[in-house]
């Protein structure tokens, strides 16, 4: 077999150099051999990294300190990670044990973003949560200073019967950063968890984030990805249903404006019988922008009675906007209820006419309908301060339009 050598671009060359510098020589060799994924790699079909990742900045220095947050949530308990380093924090709230670990937290998989995260991850925040954790746990991941390549990771265990609301905010100075963040979240038996990630990166940045979930018996999980920042972003969600009656509402929102490319990629594995999921992804695109939603549902041979419905909805506010949706069902069990659907269009003219016929101005009516489109994602967030903060992110985005 002859191997055609891959032509490496400046971004790949830089990444290889950086991998060698941190001692990840195996990853360096792998990247040198295969390069970044192009559209020919199925999982990156709509997000061609070879094309989109033009340059890689220097590794971010770990000395930065940050206490600002891009998203203020009243009453939340805040952890900060700046340029990959976990910051000092106040006394943890009841039921929260804070620790550190070295290296990556994600399960190994054949995915370049996951691999790079594992190779560059240094200092990982660990949280062990037991019982009903009262305050919203906020993890702020920021990149300060000049353009930097920053990696961070967090491992969170929510104990059996516990409950927690966790929100992660990705932000940074207004520079062409490259970020790669990861979270491993284990939801114990009968535990109830909400996990939200909000990408508020600079419009010059390239942003990757991966959240992996492991759900035990009777676990209940709600997730929400909001991609509102970065020039190029890809947020990956990998839920694994490992206990009977585990359920997850996996949701996501791409908000893209002129010049932005945002990708939400889900790869869900229903590994055991009697689990259910309701993935719901929405995208709003305006200007010349691109929103991508990939949703893959894998149902293992043993996972009978899986109930999984994937839905993707797009709203296009301009003619140059693109919303690309790719659902994939891979079902090896025979007694399951699985499906997917997708809709994409503009605001409904009849809805608009009804509102304006009552005197509401057209721009206000449009905003009302956009909010209505998003209500399904935001309404289930029960914590009032968190709900208000997320609504603020959306209103901010709408106001910029």
């Amino acid at each position: 077999m002859s191997v055609i050598p891959v032509r490496l671009g400046p971004a790949e060359t830089k990444l290889i150099e950086q991998l060698q510098a941190v001692g990840a020589s195996a990853e360096a060799e792998r990247l040198a051999a295969v390069g970044l994924p192009t559209r020919r790699v199925e999982a990156y079909h709509y997000t061609d990294l070879k094309l989109l990742l033009r340059a890689v900045p220097e590794l971010a220095e770990g000395s930065a300190v940050t206490d600002g947050s891009a998203l203020a949530i009243a009453g939340a308990f805040r952890f900060g990670i700046a340029n990959g380093r976990v910051q000092a924090h106040g006394a943890a709230p009841a039921g929260v044990i804070v620790g550190h670990t070295k290296g990556g937290v994600l399960t190994t998989r054949d995915d370049v973003v996951t691999r790079l995260n594992g190779a560059f991850a240094a200092d990982a925040l660990t949280l062990d949560l037991t019982g009903a954790v009262a305050p919203v746990i906020q993890i702020d991941r920021r990149v300060e200073g000049r353009a930097g390549h920053s990696t961070s990771s967090a491992r969170i265990f929510v104990g059996d019967g516990g409950s927690a609301v966790i929100v992660e905010v990705y932000s940074g100075s207004d520079e062409a950063h490259l970020t790669n963040h990861s979270t491993f979240l284990q939801v114990g038996k009968g535990a109830t968890v909400t996990h939200i990630t909000v990408n508020l990166m600079s419009a010059k940045a390239t942003h990757f984030a991966t959240s992996e979930y492991l759900l035990g018996e009777d676990a209940k999980l709600r997730t929400l990805v909001i991609n509102a920042g970065a020039a190029v972003s890809r947020t990956q969600v990998f839920p694994r249903f490992a206990g009977a009656r585990a359920h997850a509402d996996v949701t996501g929102l791409n908000l893209v404006s002129d010049g932005q490319h945002a990708d939400i990629t889900m790869d869900a594995l229903h590994a055991v019988p009697h689990t259910s999921s309701k993935p719901l992804f929405k995208s709003i695109a305006r200007g010349r922008s691109k929103a991508v939603v990939q949703g893959r549902l894998v149902v293992a041979r043993d996972a009978q009675k899986t109930d999984a419905k994937l839905m993707s909805q797009g709203l296009m506010l301009s003619d140059e906007a693109e919303i690309l949706v790719k659902p994939e069902l891979e079902i090896y069990a025979d007694d399951v209820v699985c499906g997917h659907g997708s809709t994409c269009g503009q605001l409904d003219d009849d809805h608009l006419f009804y509102l304006v016929s009552r005197g509401i101005s057209k721009p206000e009516a449009e905003t009302m309908l956009v909010r209505a489109f998003l209500a399904e994602l935001i309404d289930p967030i029960e914590d009032e301060a968190l709900n208000a903060a997320l609504t603020g992110v959306i209103e901010g985005w709408l106001a910029k339009g």
Binding site: D350, F353, Y354, S357, G359, K362, R371, E376
Partner: protein
Amino acid sequence: MTTPMLEIRDLHVRIEEREILKGVNLVVPKGEVHAIMGRNGSGKSTLSYVLAGKDDYEITSGEVLLDGQNILEMEPSERAVAGLFLAFQYPIEIPGVATMTFLKAALNATRKAKGEGEISTPDFMRAVKEAGASLNIDSTMLKRALNVGFSGGEKKRAEILQMALLKPKMCVLDETDSGLDIDALQVVSKGVNALRDGTRSMLVITHYQRLLNHIVPDVVHVFSDGKVVESGTKELALELEAKGYAGFDGEKAA
């Protein structure tokens, strides 16, 4: 002569190359209630949509004056705040838009046009309660998304509630009676009659005479094939009911 509330002059309208309104002439003076009766497909809803400013239609000629002001060049929202209100034949459901949020936005738009400030929440709650009092609007209906899951009757009552809240000067009611049982018809009619104040004008579009027993019009117009073919007193409606539309437009009864 005082300016009429609504004056339609030789209005011609097409949809996709087909002429639907073929020279409508109609004058509704201030404070009067006029009825338009016509068979299905004669163009009644088209007329109401054109008045409200829906943009699927091509207006080839004619004028529409609201209190002396030509409204055909105005945006639908501008017409509404100028005092025109259309109660839809088929009010649509808008998921995700809370009914109360919608009502408040509509009321504030009207107030803004009059140079008034935004209404306070307690005043708004009071206004909605007042407007809904005689319409049997229960609070659970108002907690839902706009028209979502409303029964046919609830949708029609919600239209009248909006009308009572916004206090327009010209109300166009498109088949407000369709889909209503007798009890609901009485409730809706009572709501409409409560808004007759000697100044406000109404154009009540219907297919059946029975509505006009409850909302008694000053003038009845017979509408056929895109225009008004006859006008008269409320007895005309009874005559129409007895003879059928065929006696007026020469076409066979549908």
